[in-house]
Symmetry: C2
């Protein structure tokens, strides 16, 4: 029997009515001939309520107790959906993480799945059960305690089940109807993509297109799980949403797939750093130790043994970065004249698998921005992405101009 | 290290503030030198919310899914209390039923505890943990699914843990401050008892003094677990509440310990039943099959081969009893002239271990009621209890007169 994994997020199971609606979608896939593993989140708001109670009770909480409390939300949804499916005369039962079992590391609140037992659920399918409703986001540690995978972990649960059970596809039902060429709130010509490659989705996800959790995309790529993102609030359509898949499965493809942005960036420049072997390490090790997420790094050419070093990080981490660098200077491990922080920048990126084989994308991007009078402050590139920092006031303009120039509104 | 079991009901853990307050009581017992097993209910209202969701989703629900959903309430409280205790620097952790494990039968929603594993919790006490916070009301079936013990099951959980771990005492914290000689709302001279024997508590519990679940008292009696009922809303006092214990531990004891009542009784009389061997069985088997809880039974002396048979049952079951008896009559298995239901009666009982060795309690009870002009309709007796049915309008008067006559306001 072919198998499908369907994942419903918190807004898709927020009320009993919505659980009933999601159950209808499951029933339809059962009617289509599938065995189905459903992965559910907690009802919207429940996780926040539980987290609030934990934080109020114990600000520096024991993550093992946090996990025990917070994982209870998904257990409730799983039981209710199993009951709803039974009402529709579909043989179904709920599974908690420890029952499957979903074996994870002991890193509470940020555990990683190590192994999913398939025996018990497959035995139930063998007995004629059609649906296993799995509480997402949770597992069991080697010590026998309940773990959680961290926020958004239900996506990861779903992909991991799809990989473990060899599912034909993993459908992620959410409150958006797919992945867009850019944010429709900024560019109203933004177009939904029918397909996108794993690598592109990874770049877009980490750039703030918050449709899918990065970890779940990585996992899908590694195990070649076809991932579909679609809305649980639209009418049924077998071709709905966006399929995230291997690039070989994408027949027609624009060179650029999307334009992403990230609003809360800061640019930091160390002026007149003594240039010597090991200087980059001397700068970035204390930053990493202080928990600063450094993104782009640019080093100017050296002159008279000194250079300027520029990097970007989230705006909220500027103070932390300044403190770490000041301490390193005091300790004598680095030497610079001045540290300049520019907190009014945004990052704009164009992403596309096709860039690997097409030259000239970078120069086109730069000339489009120049034509709009937008100054580029920092540039970084990867095989399938070009990112620039610009003044934040130009962010929307830059996104719109690039979306236009690369014809992203056209297939 | 001596061990104590402390159980907190839903109103005692209804909010984070109350969980903090309950935790302080636990901390005090730890300071007194005890290892403590705390058994918690769900926060007041949570279980009803979860049950409501289940019933709305599936009116004839699968009890296995009901149990999975409903048991989550206690899990949340257990985690929160463990966190609160940790904040007070007391080494504590939470335990779900399946983690302990609390092994039960597969009778979902009404499971019975078969065995409690003591190894894992004792190992933690050995490592220096001072408190195990156990989610009450739940266990795990032989099939590995979550079970619940039925409403009020947390009392039973607490007593079962006290028995399994050989606890010095099991303290049941609730919203009343102990067991009274009668209901203080009816008789303002009602006095809190310092001690009461298991057998007496059983009679009082089943008669509607809703302080403790009957099953938990039975279990405590069987395993000789000292049980203390006390309020979680009063100041700390090592002698607070009422101790339910073996009668040998009660030094001074009135002959009568309490006067109980039950308001919603009905008296049913089958007039002119053909008296033959097996007639009682022919009458009461269909009633049992119809789910009627028959309490008192009185058979008149036989005359000309016919007799009258009187029994009592809850008022709410009168219609069901009438239907069952009419069907049995139609089927020819019993034969009677008329069925008379009197729905305006109440049951009054005096209870006391001392009655075993003291004659004259029954005659004193009857004369007290006679002096008040109260007619007795039915009488039943056990070794430690005398119950009568009277017109409901005399209920309060009867309770007050008996409380006075047996000097229950005096030690």
């Amino acid at each position: 029997m072919p198998l499908l994994v369907m994942k419903f997020g918190g807004t898709s199971v927020a009320t009993l009515d919505r659980i009933a609606r999601a159950s209808k979608r499951v029933a339809r896939e059962v009617a289509n001939g599938y065995d189905v593993i459903v992965v559910v989140s907690a009802m919207a708001g429940k996780t926040n309520e539980l987290v609030g109670w934990v934080e109020e009770t114990s600000p520096l909480y024991d993550a093992r107790e946090y996990d025990a409390v917070v994982a209870s939300g998904e257990v409730v949804t799983a039981g209710l959906m199993a009951l709803r499916l039974q009402e529709m005369e579909i043989p179904a039962r709920s599974w908690q993480g420890w029952q499957v079992p979903v074996k994870t590391t002991s890193a509470h609140s940020a555990a990683r799945i190590e192994e999913i037992g398939t025996e018990a659920i497959n035995a139930k399918f063998g007995e004629g059960f059609k649906v296993a409703v799995v509480a997402g986001f949770q597992g069991i540690s080697p010590e026998g305690r309940v773990t959680t995978l961290g926020r958004g972990g239900s996506d990861t649960t779903a992909v991991a089940f799809a990989a473990a059970f060899g599912a034909e596809r993993c459908d992620i039902y959410t409150d958006v109807d797919g992945v867009y060429t850019t944010d429709p709130r900024i560019e109203d010509k933004a177009r939904k993509l029918d397909r996108i490659a794993f690598e592109e989705m990874l770049e877009l996800a980490s750039l703030g297109a918050k449709v899918l959790q990065t970890r779940s995309v990585e996992l899908a790529m590694r195990y070649k799980v076809k991932l579909r993102v679609l809305s649980s609030f639209e009418e049924y359509d077998p071709n709905a949403g966006t399929l995230v898949c291997d690039e070989e499965e994408i027949v027609e493809q624009n060179v650029v797939s999307g334009v992403a942005y990230s609003r809360d960036e800061a640019k930091m420049t160390l002026i007149s750093v003594a240039d010597r072997p090991g200087i980059a390490s001397a700068i970035f090790t204390p930053l990493a130790d202080a928990g600063v997420n450094v993104d782009m790094i640019v080093q100017n050419i050296s002159e008279d043994g000194r250079t300027d070093m520029t990097f970007s990080c989230p705006v909220g981490q500027v103070a932390r970065a300044e403190k770490a660098l000041a301490q390193a200077k005091d300790a004598g491990s680095i030497n610079f004249r001045e540290l300049v922080a520019d907190q009014d920048v945004a990052k704009i990126s164009v992403v596309g698998i096709g860039m690997r084989s097409h030259a000239g994308i970078a120069s086109k991007m730069f000339s489009v921005l120049a034509n709009e009078g937008i100054n580029i402050k920092v540039i970084t590139t990867s095989e399938i992405k070009i990112s620039v920092l610009v003044d934040r006031k130009y962010m929307e303009l830059a996104v719109q101009a690039l979306h236009d120039a690369f014809d992203l509104d056209k297939v």
